[in-house]
Amino acid sequence: MARNGQNGQGAISIRNVTKIYDPEGVHVVAMQDCSFEIAAGEFAVIVGPSGCGKTTLLNAIAGFDNITAGEIYLDGELISSPQKQIKPNVDRMVVFQNGALFPWKTVMENIIYGPIVQGRMKKSEAIQIAREMLNQVGLNEIESKYPEELSSGVQRRVEILRAMINEPRVVMLDEPFRGLDAVAKTVMHEFLMNIYCTRPRTMFFITHDLDEAIFLGNKVVIMTTRPAQVKKIVCVNMPWPREHHILGSETYLGLKKEVLEAVHEEAKKAFEAGEREMA
């Protein structure tokens, strides 16, 4: 199976991106002159206050929405600019906050649906790969279950597998573990790390959870409050796969402090701006 991340695919270049919602009316500048790079196969985590444009950026990369100024490149190819917006495609897969599995299909049918519909795999081949993936993450017993028979955490894992089977260049996850408790999140992190280590892809992961950001990411991109720009990029130089005991290490605590201070400053600004708007 091709390993796009290993083949050096999935590099994202975000250059001077501005996004204005309703330019003729309310004129909300969600993002202004925002630039940063994500290398091929890198696990990039985007954090920042609510409403800072994280999802705006994801939408532009995924092809769900356009941008007002600037350019976004994927592997050197222009995918988004005011003049050009390429459509959503399986090379850029998105896993959303809320479950999006087909409730009338089993786990197996959900996972193999994409590659079969696109004619990229025969059914037998798709089933074989899906089984390999389920096996690898210890979910081999659930292939014939329906989503409603599964807990939300397992559903979320199936969704991630459904995205990965398409061998995308980029996997985008928009707060995929929101609402899960600390223990359940630990399982999700182990799962995602397992998948990422064996099937490396460029990851574009949005979260509010700073422990999650540092534990998973190679790079934590901290955004400012609206209009969003990059406030700081923190590189996490800790080897993969990571064990949970690193959470107490000096390196980890140093990184957490750095990220915490930057995010806290922006959260406070966003909070105060929100209160001024309400007055």
Partner: protein
Amino acid sequence: MAGNNGSGALSSGNFGEVYVEGVTKIYEKEDECQTVLQDCTFHVQRGKLTVLMGPSGCGKTVLINLIAGYEKPTSGHIYIDDISVVGPGRDRLVVFQETALFPWMTAYCNVVFGCQVRKVTKCEIKERAELVLKKVGLYEFRDKYPSQLSGGMQRRAELARAIINDPKILILDEPFRGLDAMTRQLMQEFYVGLFEEVGRTNLFVTHEIDEAIFLADRLIIMTFQPGRIKAEIEVDLPRPREFRMLASPRFMEIREQAIELLYEEAAKAFAAGNKTAYDLVGAVVARKGICKKQA
């Protein structure tokens, strides 16, 4: 801590303590009996912030309802100071999970409603309301209706509505649930600052581990179905608490200790066939080092 001697103008300093002794709660439905709480015993110390923590569905809210006097235990006793709880009383006020502000009243009217019902003099109400609203940063917003306030402001209005009545015990049942993570963190800082200034006996319920440790003097961890008291952890982080402590070695140590206890509960829940617990079995296995991650 200034507040512990009750010197704050927001408080009379008349703080209470709660003794929960051997409390069991069984719900009977047709032929079925469900034991929700079993032999729970703990002490909520005077003037301290005690946090009750446990997985969703472990009976935290039932326990709160018993302490508040909304329900009666099947067996066991609850005392506020030396007096047995027989029903709701204004010595215990509860701030609920979802905002419970009256939507047809302004922030001011919501905050003073309890005092009006208790026939406090108009002059005193006005004075206290001004003090409390300024304290929670809502004085400028006093004429707004709940729908005109942000989520964070609504939670602060709830807090104001409780503390204006100067309860001996303030009970908060996941009061910041539903807020986004950043606003939640800011609300925790606001709330803990208020506690550190005013004092008062606080019993705070949450299932968020970071929130629990950040706020607590003492952490009480409950078991899963039936709810029992599994462990108590003294949180010796210094006060005043501030957000940088979330990255301190001691915070992470306590977090690890609490997670370890919760893992045990996750394993039990899984063994009992709980669907949600399917999420957790991987964690338990990985924790025991049985499952080797593939590199």
